[in-house]
């Protein structure tokens, strides 16, 4: 059993967006993996409260997430994994988490980043991580909202 979807979205949980994705992937819990967020109890509270009512949220750092998420995947738990950066997705993959596909959903413009596709930007480091994820055999598809037709990362990746 592999996780159906790991989504890269720098806004993590945001309003209705996450509700639509939970339905689309048939998940009933959210796991956020991010070292900085996991170390900030206030931010953990804010994000937990931002999830749709009744949907449990776990916030984990990368080190403790790998075994935990792998266990959930093998227990057939339908969880929706959210990360802020493809670098985190790659770290999970390298730590042995069975990820079926990586969804690239949102990375906003910022220092060191340049436009990648529509509203998504990425830095050189983030692009390298996405390429490495694909090289390890996990497809990366761009879908900003669940209704979008998936666009393969490789088709928009120009150095």
């Amino acid at each position: 059993m592999t996780l159906r979807l790991v989504r890269v979205d720098d806004r993590l949980i945001h309003g209705q967006v996450v509700a639509v994705w939970l339905r689309a992937v048939g998940a009933d819990r959210i796991v956020i993996v991010d070292d900085r967020v996991a170390a900030d109890p206030f931010l953990v509270d804010v994000l937990t409260l931002a999830a749709p009512i009744g949907v449990p949220v776990e916030v984990l750092d990368v080190a403790s997430a790998a075994p935990r998420v792998t266990a959930r995947a093998s227990a057939h738990d339908a969880c929706f994994v959210l990360v802020k950066s493809p670098v985190t997705a790659l770290a999970l993959l390298r730590a042995g988490v069975p990820i079926g596909a990586v969804n690239l959903g949102g990375i906003g413009a910022g220092p060191g980043r340049r436009p990648l596709y529509r509203t998504i930007s990425a830095s050189d480091e983030e692009r390298a991580a996405l390429r490495e994820i694909e090289a390890l055999g996990t497809p990366v598809e761009i879908r900003i909202v669940a209704d979008d037709r998936p666009v393969p990362f490789a088709s928009v990746d120009r150095t």
């Binding site: 720098d10 806004r11 309003g15 804010v46 990375i107 906003g108 413009a109 930007s121």
Partner: protein
Amino acid sequence: MRDFRIVVAAHSGLAAALVRSAELICGELRDVTAVGIAPSESPETFAVELRRAIELDARPVLVLTDLDGGTPSIVAATIAADRPGTTVLAGVTLGMLVEAATSPDGLGDGAVGRLVETGRAGIVDVTARLAARGRS
């Protein structure tokens, strides 16, 4: 005279449009700022802009955001946590903004609760209300 500032934080052009629309009703509004998050903007960049608007001076600030659980709301909550005198209300309506902007006093004495009530009371099934009076 209102002794607090208002910051409207919302997705895309909604914040600016709400402030413009409120000005249509109230005339020019002082100490009301709109901060929108663009679809291509990172939460970090938006946080810098919102923080600048909130921390402009030491007066109390009422932050009105569009969606509970949305990025503007989450970012506002994190800024408010370390800036005393900052109140965040999600689910802003034009009615709430007009009420807050024309408020003669501060945010104490139940004023925030009354604003929440204004927002709730402004949602009305007009069709059903007319039907109940036998008008449709």
